[in-house]
Chain length 348, copies 2
C-alpha cells in the first residue's frame, strides 16, 4: 500500500472511530479495544481481495483504498464488546457488512451516473458501467463468503435480510427519482430500507453470536435503525451545508442526481415559485447559475428547514441512545450511547 493510501485509510479510521464516540480523546478503553479490531477487519477485507484475478483485485482495492468511515464495522465491533463477546465472529461480520456497504455504493454510482465519490473518480467513471456492475456483484458474493466462514445461520439471516431490504430501498428510491412530490413518510421509508437496515444489522448481529445475548437483539436492532436514520438525515444536511472539500464530492450532489433530500422535502411547501423552479431545475439535471447553491441554502435556512432536519436527526439520536439504556454498563456501552449525538455534529 502506498504512503498516501495508508494515510487516507488512517484518517478514515480515526474519523470513523471519532464519529462513533465524539472524539478519539474521549474513547479511552474503547479505543484501545476497538481500534485493533477494526484493523483486523481491514486485514480480512484485504486478504479476501487478494484471492482473485488481478483485474478484480485492482478494482476492489481501489474501492477500499478510498477508505470509508468504517462506521458500520465500528458499530458492530463495539456492540460485540458491549455484550462481553470474546470470539472473532464480530471481525468477520464487520468485514462482511463493510463489503456489502461498498458493493451497494459501487452499484449506486452506476445507477446515479456519479463520477466522483470520496474525492476520487468512481469505479464506473474509471472502468465503465459493465465492469462496475460485475464488481458490485463480486463484492456482494465475497461478503457472503466471509459471513459463511463463520457458520452461524442466525447471523447470516440478519445480514441477508438487511441486504434484501437495502435493495428494496434502492428500488423505491429509484421510483422517486427526479420527483418533487416526495413525502416525509416516503423519505423515512426509503432511508430506513436503504440506510438504517444495514446499521441495524451491524448493531444487532453480535446479539446472535451467543444464546445468552438474545434478549439484547431487539434493543440493539432499534438502536441501529435510529442511528442509521440519524446518519442519513445528517448526510442529507451535509449535502446542502458542507464544502466540496469536506464531502469529497460536489455540493448538492444528491439533488443533482435527482434525489430530493430532506431539507428540500421540508422546505418545499413554503418556497416561492421561483425557488421551487430552481430546485426542480437542479433535480432534473439542468444547468443553474453558480450562485444558485448559495441562494438555495439561504432559502432552506430562512424557512427553518435545516434546523427542522437537524431536530429530526437529534430525535432519532436520542431514540437510539434510549433503546440501549438497559445494555450492561461499560466503556463500549457508553461509547455506543454517546455515538448518535456525536453523529449529529459530524461535518464529513
Amino acid at each position: 500500500m502506498s504512503g498516501r493510501v495508508a494515510q487516507v485509510r488512517e484518517t478514515a479510521l480515526n474519523r470513523g472511530i471519532g464519529a462513533l464516540t465524539g472524539s478519539l480523546a474521549g474513547l479511552g478503553e474503547v479505543a484501545r479495544e476497538v481500534r485493533p479490531r477494526l484493523e483486523q477487519v481491514d486485514g480480512i477485507i484485504h486478504a479476501h481481495l487478494g484471492a482473485t484475478s488481478p483485474c478484480i483485485q485492482e478494482a476492489a482495492a481501489y474501492v477500499f483504498e478510498a477508505g470509508g468511515k468504517r462506521l458500520r464495522p465500528a458499530v458492530l465491533v463495539a456492540t460485540a464488546q458491549a455484550l462481553g463477546y470474546r470470539g472473532d465472529a464480530d471481525i468477520r461480520f464487520a468485514a462482511a457488512v463493510e463489503m456489502i456497504h461498498s458493493a451497494t455504493l459501487v452499484h449506486d454510482d452506476v445507477i446515479d451516473h456519479a463520477t466522483v465519490r470520496r474525492g476520487r473518480k468512481t469505479p464506473n467513471a474509471r472502468w465503465g458501467n459493465q465492469f462496475t456492475v460485475l464488481l458490485g456483484d463480486w463484492l456482494f458474493t465475497r461478503a457472503m463468503e466471509i459471513a459463511l466462514d463463520d457458520g452461524n445461520i442466525l447471523s447470516l439471516k440478519v445480514l441477508s435480510a438487511a441486504t434484501q431490504r437495502m435493495t428494496e430501498g434502492e428500488i423505491m428510491a429509484l421510483g422517486l427519482q427526479r420527483r418533487l412530490d416526495v413525502s416525509l413518510e416516503q423519505y423515512l421509508e426509503v432511508s430506513r430500507l436503504k440506510t438504517a437496515e444495514l446499521f441495524a444489522a451491524a448493531s444487532s448481529i453480535p446479539a446472535t453470536f451467543e444464546p445468552a445475548f438474545a434478549a439484547c437483539f431487539e434493543p440493539l436492532q432499534a438502536y441501529g435503525r435510529h442511528l442509521g436514520l440519524c446518519f442519513q438525515i445528517i448526510d442529507d444536511l451535509l449535502d446542502v451545508t458542507a464544502s466540496e472539500e469536506r464531502l469529497g464530492k460536489p455540493v448538492f450532489s444528491d439533488l443533482r442526481e435527482g434525489r430530493l433530500t430532506l431539507p428540500f422535502i421540508l422546505a418545499l411547501p413554503h418556497l416561492a415559485t421561483h425557488e421551487r423552479e430552481t430546485v426542480e431545475a437542479v433535480l432534473l439535471g439542468g444547468e443553474i447559475d453558480s450562485d444558485a447553491p448559495r441562494r438555495l441554502r439561504h432559502a432552506l435556512e430562512h424557512r427553518g428547514a435545516l434546523e427542522q432536519a437537524r431536530h429530526l436527526a437529534r430525535s432519532h439520536a436520542r431514540q437510539a441512545t434510549e433503546a440501549i439504556a438497559n445494555l450492561p454498563d461499560g466503556g463500549a456501552a457508553r461509547a455506543l450511547r454517546a455515538a448518535p449525538l456525536a453523529l449529529v455534529d459530524r461535518d464529513f
Copy 2:
C-alpha cells in the same frame, strides 16, 4: 397467470425435463417424481416473488414468466432423487439456483446491451439499466434468503462459491469481449466459471444434505462441470446453427454482442482474410450484409469447426456420464447418465 404465460411455462418445463433425459416418453418413473417437484420449485419462486413491492413483483414475475428451461433445478432435483434423499431441501435449493441463474441473466443483458431474450424484450430494454441492475441484486439476495431458510451451511457454501465463480467468469469474459485472439484455454476457463460452476453446484448440493451422501459429492461435482461445459458448447453451436424462432433471440447474438463463440475460435486460424474480416466486423458490432450469416455458417462448416465443437461437447458429455458411473443405480441415476448426450442433440 395468463393462459399464454402458463403455456410458455408448460412448454419450458417439458423442454427442461425433456432435455434432461432425451424425451419425456423415456422418462418413466423419473418424470413422475421430478415433474411435481419442479412445479414445487416454481411454487417457491412465485411465493417469494409475491412478498415484495408491486414494481419488483411485476418485473421479477416478467423474468420468470418467460420460463427458462429449468435445467439446473431439474438436475438438482434428479440428483437428490438419485441419492435417495427424502426431505425438501432439494426444492428450496433448486429454487435458489434458478433465481441466481436468472439474476445473472438479468445483469448479463445489461452488460451486453441485449434487447431480446427468450423471444421477449429484456428487462433492461423494458425498464432501463438502472432498475435492472437493482432487480438483479434483488434476485441474488432473495435467492440467498431462500437458501438460508434451509439452515444448511455446507450447501450454502457450495452455492455461494459457485455464485462467486460465476461473477469471476463474467468479469473474465468482459475482458475478452470484442477480441479475436481468444484461445481455447481461455474459452474453456470462462465457460467453466460462467456456466459450469452453477451446474456443478446444482448437481453436487444434494450430496451436502446428509453425511451419508458425502462420498458422492466430488463425482457429482465433476458431473455438473462436464455437463455445464457440454451445455455451453452446444449453446455456442446453436448461436450459429439454430433459427431465430427456436432460439428466441437473433442468430449470431453472442458474436454480435462481442463474444467470440467456440466454432469461430476453432475455425479462425483456418479462415481466409476476408472471412476473418467479416467475423471481426460482426464482433465489433458493425453492419454486415444479410447474406453474411449464411456465408459464415458455411465457412465454419467447411473448416470442420462445427463438427469439432460438437465432438468436444460429446467428449464432455461422456466424461459427465462416466463421473457418476458408481452412483447407486435407479431411474434417476439412469436419467442423469443419459442427460449429457441428450443435451448434445438439443435444438433450443
